[in-house]
């Protein structure tokens, strides 16, 4: 039986800037099951990155319910949010977001240092495993500025998966990459998904979106389409 990992009900997000209200998200209701590979697409400013921030507990909704692994995380404390981000969520950002003062190993190890339940040896092993997974072990002592964009993104992927999170959230992971490196990163995500990872990816690249099992389209802060990829392909063919 498929287990629901994420459940959103009537999620709203309103930004108040200089007394101007911006309704970034309105009445978002959706679920994401464990093991699913979901892409979220839409034009610029539609609210997809906002939605990803809410999913990743990087921000809080103005209204609505958010359940993660059957726990209501809508109104939890900042400390609890941080703990969940650390234990359950792995982030991949468009601009990599590596710390320039830290070398590759230290960047990947960073989320593990926020835990109290791991020894140094355990952390080192987990980092090594993550490096192997992204084929970057030979660059362990390099600094981000010494890597290409594709390599930096692979390190970011390693950092996202090092703690075995429940879900990987990727915000335009190939946005800053050339096609070759983008393909390499997408293949990585495919591999992770095939190993059972739950992935939610924001993208406006249709080719990347097609790799996901399910596509959610957002427009003006609302979900306008939510289809499995196979069903979408069938519809496209039918429309053609």
């Amino acid at each position: 039986m498929t287990k629901t990992l994420i459940k959103l009900e009537n999620i709203k997000k309103v930004f108040l800037t200089d007394e101007v209200e911006t309704h970034a998200l309105s009445n978002i209701t959706l679920t994401i099951n464990k093991g699913e590979y979901v892409s979220i697409s839409g034009p610029s400013g539609c609210g997809k990155s906002t939605l990803l921030s809410l999913l990743g507990l990087l921000d809080t909704s103005s209204e609505g319910l958010y359940q993660l692994a059957e726990h209501n995380v809508s109104n939890i404390s900042k400390k609890e949010r941080a703990r969940i981000r650390n234990m359950e969520i792995g982030f991949i950002f468009q601009s990599f977001n590596l710390i320039s003062d830290l070398d590759v190993e230290e960047n990947i190890e960073l989320p593990l240092t926020y835990r109290n339940d791991l020894s140094k040896t355990q952390r080192k092993q987990m980092v090594s495993d993550a490096l192997d997974k992204v084929n970057m072990s030979h660059r362990a002592k390099h600094f981000p500025s010494q890597l290409s964009g594709g390599q930096q993104q692979r390190i970011a992927v390693a950092r996202a998966i090092v703690g075995n999170p429940s879900i990987i959230l990727a915000d335009e992971p190939t946005g800053n990459l050339d096609s070759k490196n983008a393909e390499a990163v997408m293949q990585l995500l495919d591999v992770l998904h095939s190993e059972g990872a739950t992935i939610c990816m924001v993208t406006h690249d249709p080719r990347s979106a097609k790799r996901a099992d399910r596509n959610i389209d957002i427009l003006d802060g609302q979900v306008v389409a939510d289809q499995h990829t196979s069903q979408k392909n069938t519809n496209d063919i039918a429309a053609a």
Partner: protein
């Protein structure tokens, strides 16, 4: 910038005026004063006439010698008598200063000899005030100490050499008629020969004085000589304070420069990508530098101008403030204000700060690896170079503020202790005055004693006066400090023991008791001590503890080691009183013990009169003038002031410097706090995205806060430890000079460390908290 430049230029200008300014006449820079030293200690001691003559004959590095001394005189006129400080000098003193009389002439060598007609040269201000600028003044006389002196010349306006003189008289001393043991002490003057430095001449003097000490051990043991500039002679033992103040001034300027530099550097770093893009588009380096430099020029120039105005105002009010520190007029070269030196210094400081705060960062930023900047995909973190620079800035600010705070706190505490030291006497509702008896009318001991007794009786019968205390010096005031010998103890070269010194004061019998100087053992003076053949003495408990620690001092015999006298006069200690401080309040000077002789045994021509009044001070002053007039119309009282004011005046210079240092300390705290806050805030701002990343990865707010606080602690250690050492070194040097208690030093160190540490922690904590108020998503996308 205004604070840094203003305070620094003020401090340098202040000390330059007092200590380093060239005297305002030709060859003023080479004119030196020859002083004596005792046991290696300098201190503006006069030099024995015979020693001076020996130096004149033998030293290579000096030429054009002249001698002088200053003495109080009474000038009598139709309007009454008035006290002046006159200069008794050799005839060539005017030639030494390359100055001629503006009316008449100066005196000749013939007139500067024993038995010559009494003549006098007067100053311009005296000519104007007493003779209304009368051109016929050269036909007039001035009655000085009861004798008529023919006025032969008037010196130009502003000529007050060597200090604040208005009257010059021939020294008229014949060294051949004075044995070395009974000679006079004078101040020597000479010009430094070209090719010789002060150190060269001082080395010569050391050899000469060593020879004299071997030849005349009774008079010249432990006596040395040295030269210094006339302004520099005022520094004396105050060198540590002067050096400290200069260092503090420079540190304040550096602190201000760091603040401005950091501001400009942050802006440059923020615009690093913009700069890289400009370079990519073909902008020449000079264009980039000039763009960044203009900001520095504007800030430093504007700040400097504001600082200049504040500094000018400060120097202007300094003159009247400093004038209150001294009973006599200020030294003639003490003209606080904007001069060439101040302007040059100001311009130099502005240029240096522009260079340091603007040009150097502009040069560095315009020559970087722009390709890397354009390519850099890392977010949030500061970049290694910029991060290191920020750390250096913060560490520097911490070091400087710690150093300045500790040194200033020691200075403030020392000044406070000095100004609140117990002199040993009660000073409330007491008016002081000085009287100088003329040599002519009061040459005998009997006359002087009679005068004192008559004056005391007359004043005690006056309305509004409760008690009258007459002495050669009162507690708190300077007195002579001769060498003392204790019967039964050996002194001299044979056993390397030198004579101890003590303050030596003549005082009327009931005065000590009336002044509230408590009796510890024995008795006060009484009528039984009257008479020149009586040899009794009171000592302070500090004297008794120092020389008779295991036994009572009562009945012991001591004598003043007077090389001028061949007769050994042993004095019997009849009483021990509480310790009194005579003169300086600092360190060793305050702990010098005192011995008191009855005025009837050792009368003096210079008297200090203290009147404890019951009504008001004006009435007391009036009574004094009336009493003096009734006894001798040719006598005048001077320095009429309250006892408290008199004591405050002695500590006023230290208090003034202390107030300045407190101002510097305040400036340091404000500059450091704002600077450190600025740098830390800037650093944290530039790491907002990094903070967002770490929070996205699960770091709690507490974790982030502790991380930054720990970074602050490390910076505090890097800057604070050297700062404690540097400030401690300066503070310790000053504490030794002022005699500040070591336990107080430790308390100061701890307090200042707490202040700086708190500042750093707050400066780190507040921006961190502010940043953590952003949601992680906002921090991630922060630009």
């Amino acid at each position: 910038m205004a604070t840094g430049i203003g305070l620094s230029v003020y401090m340098f200008s202040f000390f330059n005026t007092i200590l380093y300014k060239d005297l305002p006449f030709k060859d003023g820079a080479s004119l030196m004063v020859v002083n004596a030293s005792y046991q290696g200690q300098k201190g503006e001691r006069k030099i024995n006439l015979h020693d001076y003559l020996e130096i004149r004959e033998n030293v290579q590095g000096l030429s054009e010698f002249g001698a002088y001394e200053t003495r109080n005189i009474i000038v009598s006129s139709r309007d009454g008598a008035r006290r002046y400080t006159a200069v008794f000098a050799e005839a060539n003193i005017f030639q030494l200063t390359r100055t001629e009389a503006v009316l008449g002439r100066t005196y000749t060598a013939a007139e500067d000899s024993v038995g010559a007609e009494p003549v006098v040269v007067i100053g311009f201000d005296l000519w104007q005030s007493q003779f209304a600028g009368d051109e016929n003044v050269l036909k007039q006389t001035l009655r000085i100490n009861g004798d008529s002196h023919r006025i032969i010349g008037v010196m130009p306006q502003g000529y007050l050499f060597p200090h604040s003189a208005q009257i010059w008289l021939p020294l008229a001393v014949d060294a051949t008629k004075l044995p070395r043991s009974n000679s006079v002490d004078i101040r020597g003057l000479a010009h430094l020969n070209e090719g010789f430095s002060e150190d060269d001449v001082n080395a010569e003097l050391s050899v000469i004085m060593s020879r004299l000490a071997q030849r005349y051990p009774e008079t010249n043991s432990d006596i040395g000589a040295y030269i210094t500039t006339i302004p520099g002679a005022g520094a004396g033992d105050g060198q540590p304070v002067i050096y400290t103040m200069h260092i503090v001034a420079v540190l304040i300027l550096i602190l201000a420069s760091i603040n401005v530099g950091n501001l400009l550097l942050s802006r440059a770093l923020e615009r690093g990508k913009e700069t890289a893009i400009r370079v990519a588009l073909g902008a020449p380096r000079s264009r980039l530098i000039s763009q960044m430099l203009w900001e520095s020029i504007i800030i430093c120039t504007l700040g400097g101008l504001i600082g200049f105005l504040v500094m000018a105002w400060g120097l202007e009010i300094t003159q009247p403030i400093v004038a209150t520190f001294f009973a006599d007029p200020l030294a003639f070269w003490w003209d606080f204000g904007i001069d060439a030196y101040t302007i040059k210094l100001f311009i130099a400081m502005v240029l240096v700060t522009i260079l340091v705060t603007g040009f150097v960062p502009a040069w560095r930023n315009s020559g970087g690896d722009f390709n890397a900047v354009l390519r850099d995909g890392t977010r949030g973190a500061l970049g290694k170079k910029a991060g290191r620079l920020n750390k250096i800035l913060v560490v520097s600010e911490i070091f400087i503020s710690m150093t300045v705070l500790i040194a200033s706190a020691v200075m403030v505490l020392s000044a406070y202790e000095q100004s609140h030291k117990d002199m040993g006497a009660e000073t409330d509702n007491t008016l002081l005055a000085n009287v100088l008896l003329t040599e002519k009318d009061y040459s005998s001991h009997k006359d002087m004693v009679q005068f004192a007794k008559t004056l005391q009786a007359s004043l005690e019968n006056s309305v509004g006066i409760d008690k009258v205390m007459i002495a050669s010096a009162l507690p708190g005031h300077y007195s002579v400090k001769p060498n003392i010998a204790i019967q039964g103890r050996e002194y001299g070269k044979s056993n390397n023991a030198s004579y101890p010194r003590a303050n030596y004061i003549s005082i009327m019998p009931a005065a000590l008791a009336d002044l509230g100087v408590e009796l510890r053992q024995g008795r006060y003076f009484n009528n039984g001590d009257d008479g020149l053949n009586k040899n009794t003495v009171l000592v302070t408990e500090s004297f008794a503890e120092q020389h008779f620690p295991e036994e009572s001092a009562l009945g012991k015999q001591i004598r003043v080691v007077d090389s001028k006298s061949t007769r050994l006069q042993w004095l019997t200690i009849v009483g021990v009183v509480e310790h009194t401080i005579q003169g300086n309040r600092d360190g060793d000077a305050a702990s010098i013990p005192s011995i008191f002789r009855p005025f009837t045994q050792l009368p003096t021509q210079q008297l200090t009169i203290a009147m404890a009044y019951t009504s008001n001070a004006n009435l007391a002053a009036k009574s004094l003038r009336k009493a003096l007039q009734g006894i001798d119309s040719e006598l005048a009282s001077y320095r009429i002031e309250s006892y408290q004011a008199s004591n405050e005046r002695i500590t006023a210079p230290v208090t003034f410097i202390s107030n300045l240092t407190a101002l510097f300390a305040l400036a340091a705290v404000v500059l450091a706090a704002s600077g450190i806050y600025g740098v830390m805030s800037n650093t944290i701002n530039q790491r907002i995205q990094e903070i967002g990343i770490k929070r996205a990865l699960g770091a709690t707010e507490r974790r982030i806060t502790l991380e930054f606080l720990w970074a602050g602690v490390k910076l505090l250690l890097w800057g604070g430890l050297p700062g404690v050492l540097a400030g401690g070194f300066m503070g310790f040097a000053m504490a030794q000079m002022f005699g500040t208690d070591n336990s107080a030093l430790i308390l100061i160190f701890i307090s200042m460390v707490v202040i700086v540490a708190s500042t750093v922690m707050f400066a780190t904590f507040l921006p961190t908290r502010r940043t953590l108020q952003l949601e992680p998503s906002q921090a991630l996308h922060y630009e």
